[in-house]
Each structure stands twice: as C-alpha cells, then as structure tokens.
C-alpha cells in the first residue's frame, strides 16, 4: 500500500472511531430520528439532524470553494425516480431493523445481537440485488428524470455557494432559536451522554474530515455488498464471474489532496471502495466498542423476542437491497448529498420520510403488537 493510501485508510479509521464513539454516547440514531417523529411526534432529534445538515452545508461549501474536493461529489448523478423508491424502501428497512447502516455498526460495537442480525440482512439484501441487477439496470433507464443537472445549483443555474449560503441564511435563525430554548437538548440522559445539538456539531465536523480524507462523503453500503461478493466467491466463483454488477467499477475519480486515482466497485476486491469504506466501518464499530467498554455497558444480550429478531433480519435485507437501488444510504444522502442540494438526495430524503412512516406502521402492526410485546416484559 502506497503512502497516500495508508494515510487515507488510517484517517478513515480514526474518523470512524470518532463517529462511532459520538453516535454511541448520544445514541444518535438516524432511524430513531425519523421513526420517533411519526411514532411519538418527538422533534428533538430531527432538529439536531437539521443542525448537522446545515453545519455540513457550510463546511462543504468551504471545502469545494477551496478545491479540497470535487463539486458535485463522485458517484452523484442526475436524479431518477429510483432515488425516491430507494429512499422509501430504505426508510421501511431502517425502522424495521431499529437502526440504519451506520447505527447498526456502532450498536454492533457495543455488543448488540440485533445489530449482528441486521448486518446479516444487509449482506443478504445486497446479494439479492446483485442477482436482479441485470433486470433492474434496464428498468432504471425509464425512471431517469431528464433535467440536465445533478444539484439544485446546476438546475437554477447559480453558483453552488449561492444555494449553500441561501439555505444557511434561511435556516440559521430557526436553529439559533431552537438552541436558545433548549429544543435540541434533553433533560435526562445515560452516563456519558452527549446532548443532541453537540453530537450534531461533532458529527458534522467528523463527517467533513472524512469527506476531506476520502474525497467523497461517508458511505458504507457498498462494503456490505463486497462482503456478499466474498461469500458468493467462496460458494461459486463462476456464478460470481457471471454477474456483471460485481465486475463494474462506478467509482473512478482523482483524490484532490493526493492526486491518487481511486477506482472501485462492489466486487470482492481490495479496491478504492474498500480503501475509503472498510477502515471507516471498522472505526465506527471500534468507536462504539470503546465507548461502551469505558462506560461498562458492553454486553452481548441474546434475549431479544423472536419477532424482533425477524424484524431486524427483514429490515436489514430491505435496507441492503434499497441501498443499491437508491443508490447509497441515509448517511451518504443526508450528510453528503443534501448539503450540496443534490437532486438525487432530495428525492431520497422525501422517500425516506415516507418509508419511515410506512415502516413505523408496520412496526406497530406486525412487530410490536401489544399481545406479543407483553411477552417481552417480565413483571
């Protein structure tokens, strides 16, 4: 591994550690944020999430104005109704799983059995997508929206910083008011708790550093697909070779800070995707573990109700499949695409709200039915 690659991998590992640590301390769960908005009309975390997006809007504008990374980021393309559909499916999946693709990682680090089940689902869902990709690739052509732009700034068209500055000016007074009246803080919390507003700012800083280190926003889902690819390779190498999805390398860009060509795809190879995503994932798991160990809260707890285990598996599978359709996960779109007002990400987030609502209905109706959940509580 060359020097630049080592530096990127090491930086992603450390930044991932920070992200996992902060997320565990604050239990900054993206799935819970959307779910609780519909389930409990609880708005504390969605406000904090908006703070994170607005902070990243400013930081990323600073980054591309200085030429620290490309605008728009690699892998973002013109919008498609597939982004909306992927967002809906992803929203359903993350609520059923009880965590998104990154929330699952910090909980895995803290010893969550249900998170392990969700990871199995994510790998399985990615593999199911790989099997149907050749048909989906044909269908997706019809879903493309021919608007000739990737971001809102390109659509208008205005300079990117104008849109970023406008969004910040519009939302900053609201965020300041929420900060002053305590709408982004909570009264009670566990040991070592980080208030939502502070966690949002810390995560925004860490995500910006990761974007700087990798040259593109944090994402982890292609690595789940790679894991599936390695499994498939172990079972049937000829079958893997016959799937075009595993041969493609959609990531192909020049890293602005190092000049390194970063090329990669979903196939079971140690390529550019593995370089930027795998150390980040390991870091998030490790960060969750360190936080839990230091609090004395690390513990494998296997006594989850059967219905919830099935829900975690189904949710993970749906998320794994959705992340290939979207394409990308909630972190990629909310913390990467939304701050540059990517049209793909706007559609994904609209879908995510709808999917989280639908997922909450399914969770209440099928998974947490009162007659069943009463078995979970031991009186």
């Amino acid at each position: 591994m060359r020097g630049a690659e080592t530096a990127i991998a090491f930086a992603q590992l450390l930044i991932g550690g920070g992200i996992g640590f902060v997320m565990h301390r604050a239990d900054f769960c993206f799935a819970g944020t959307f779910r609780d908005l519909f389930l409990l009309q609880r708005r504390t975390m969605i406000r904090a999430l908006l703070l994170l997006v607005v902070a990243l809007t400013g930081l990323q504008a600073f980054g591309y104005l200085l030429g620290l990374f490309a605008y728009p980021f690699p892998l973002f393309g013109p919008p498609s109704l597939a982004n909306l559909l992927g967002g809906i499916m992803f929203g359903v999946g993350m609520v059923l799983a009880g965590g998104c693709v990154v929330g699952t990682l910090y909980r895995l680090g803290a010893g969550s059995f249900l998170a392990m089940v969700t990871v199995a689902g994510l790998v399985g869902g990615s593999l199911i997508y790989a099997e149907v990709d050749r048909w989906w690739a044909k269908a997706v052509v019809a879903l493309k929206l021919d608007v000739g732009a990737i971001t809102l700034a390109q659509l208008l068209p205005v300079a990117p910083w104008v849109v970023a500055g406008g969004a910040i000016l519009l939302l900053a007074p609201l965020l300041v008011a929420w900060g002053r009246n305590g709408s982004m803080s909570v009264a009670h919390g566990p040991e070592g708790y980080i208030q939502p507003w502070l966690a949002a700012l810390l995560l925004a800083g860490l995500i910006f550093l990761s974007t700087l280190a990798a040259g593109l926003p944090p994402g982890v889902t292609t690595t789940y697909t790679k894991m599936g690819g390695y499994l498939l390779q172990a079972v049937s190498s000829p079958h893997l070779a016959a799937i075009p999805f595993f041969q493609r390398e959609p990531l192909n860009f020049t890293h602005a800070l190092s000049g390194l060509a970063i090329v990669g795809g979903a196939g079971p190879r140690l390529d550019g995707i593995a370089l930027v995503q795998f150390p980040l994932m390991v870091g998030i798991v490790a960060g969750g573990s360190v936080s839990a160990w230091r609090l004395g809260e690390f513990r494998f707890y296997l006594r989850a109700p059967q219905r919830q285990v099935v829900s975690a598996l189904v949710g993970g599978t749906v998320m794994g499949f959705a992340s290939r359709i979207a394409p990308g996960c909630n972190i990629w779109h909310i913390a990467g695409g939304l701050p540059i007002l990517s049209l793909q990400s706007i559609l994904f987030v609209v879908g995510l709200f709808s999917g989280a609502w639908l997922g909450t209905r399914l969770l209440l109706g099928l998974v947490l039915r009162p007659d069943r959940s009463s078995q979970a509580g031991k009186e």
Binding site: H24, C29, V186, H188, P190, P305, Q308
Partner: protein
C-alpha cells in the same frame, strides 16, 4: 407517600429494538395510571437501551409523573412514580 406502602413493579426490557422499550413503558404507565397517581405504585423499567433513558422519562414527565434514571451495573433503571 410512605415508601413501604409503595408497590414497585419491575419490567425487564433489556435486549430489545429501540421503540419497544418505550412502548412497553407507555403501555404500563397507562395501565397503572390510577395507582401511579395516588402514589400506591411505582414502575421500574430495566433497560440496556441508552435511548430509553432519555425517551421514557421525557414521556412520563410530559404526562405529569416523576422520573428517575439510575445506572446499575451494565444497565439502567428508570423509575416512574408520582411526585412526593
């Protein structure tokens, strides 16, 4: 209220997906609201879900109850009762 006369009901809801712990708590708070109001009962939820130590007290306090969070070993105890 005299502590000795308070019936403390315990619910072990460790190891479950996020909203389940809160939903169990809300159901039990509503089921025992009369006894909670007159102080003859308090509820104790044992959870390993950090989020529950935020959401259960928040929901209970919004309903006018007293909420206390304690860390015990690897997990947390959330006690819900009437104000003294």
């Amino acid at each position: 209220m005299d502590e000795e006369k308070t019936d403390l009901r315990m619910f072990d809801i460790r190891g479950q997906i996020c909203p389940s712990t809160l939903l169990v708590a809300l159901r039990e708070i509503n089921r025992h609201r009369a006894a909670l109001r007159d102080g003859s009962m308090a509820l104790l939820f044992i959870t390993d879900n950090r989020d529950s130590t935020v959401t259960i007290p928040e929901a209970a306090e919004n309903m006018g109850y007293r909420a206390e969070v304690r860390k015990v070993g690897h997990h947390y105890e959330v006690e819900i009762g009437n104000h003294p």
